[in-house]
């Protein structure tokens, strides 16, 4: 069964303290891996799409990387406004190829 696991569940950082969030996945075949940011009570906001191992994408203080088993979201020198839940999702080959399979998310809190 296709599965996505994110760690840690929650992360507290001081402003400027860099860290990484992990997303490990088990799928029959990976079509794409997506990172979203979600603020409380709001819809997920698209960040990155990764398609193949070795691929990297960057946006401001965020950098996403992908291997054959997992993806990392690196946050460099975070600011309080980076506080949110970060969701990882995959699309897999096989039945139900359209749907996104989400992980439970990592709740990030950045304190000044």
């Amino acid at each position: 069964e296709d599965q996505v696991t994110q760690s840690p569940e929650a992360l507290r950082l001081q402003e400027g303290e860099s860290s990484s969030l992990n997303c490990s996945y088990t799928v029959s075949g990976l079509r794409g891996l997506f990172w979203y940011r979600q603020d409380p009570g709001k819809g997920p906001e698209f960040l990155f799409t990764l398609y193949s191992a070795g691929e990297e994408k960057e946006k401001e203080r965020l950098k996403a990387t992908l291997t054959k088993k997992e993806s990392f979201l690196h946050i460099t020198a975070p600011k309080p406004e980076d506080s949110a839940t970060y969701l990882c999702a995959v699309q897999a080959f096989g039945g139900g190829y359209n749907k996104l399979i989400f992980g439970a998310g990592t709740r990030l809190a950045v304190h000044p």
Partner: protein, 114 residues
């Protein structure tokens, strides 16, 4: 830039009532997806439509139905509502219908069933 529009934003219903949620995709997007997110949970895929045809189906209860109209907007109809249906319902849209097209999410409809 235009985003996905959902209405209503909040909805309160009694048990056994019906509800209709509406989704207006980003202009030129032809594919819509519906997700349900319970409190403290990750979004769960319900159903999707590409060019007005159902393209994929997830864990959508038989009490729910959905369709996509000629202008590409979509409606999720929910009948015989149960307390457990209380959740955030998100619509997402993409262009092209390909499986790896990025899905852009709307702000959600918060459904409360009393």
């Amino acid at each position: 830039a235009a985003g996905v529009i959902q209405s209503p934003r909040h909805l309160i219903k009694e048990k056994r009532e019906t509800a209709t949620l509406k989704c207006y995709p980003i202009p030129r997007h032809d594919t819509v997806y519906w997700y349900q997110q319970g409190p403290g949970q990750d979004p769960q895929f319900l159903i999707s439509f590409y060019e007005k045809m159902q393209s994929d189906k997830g864990s959508i209860p038989d009490r729910f139905s959905a369709q996509q109209f000629s202008d590409y907007h979509s409606e999720l109809n929910m009948s015989s509502l149960e307390l457990g249906d209380s959740a955030l319902y998100f619509c997402a849209s993409s262009f092209g219908g390909r499986s790896t097209d990025t899905q852009y999410f709307g702000p959600g409809t918060r459904l409360t069933v009393l």
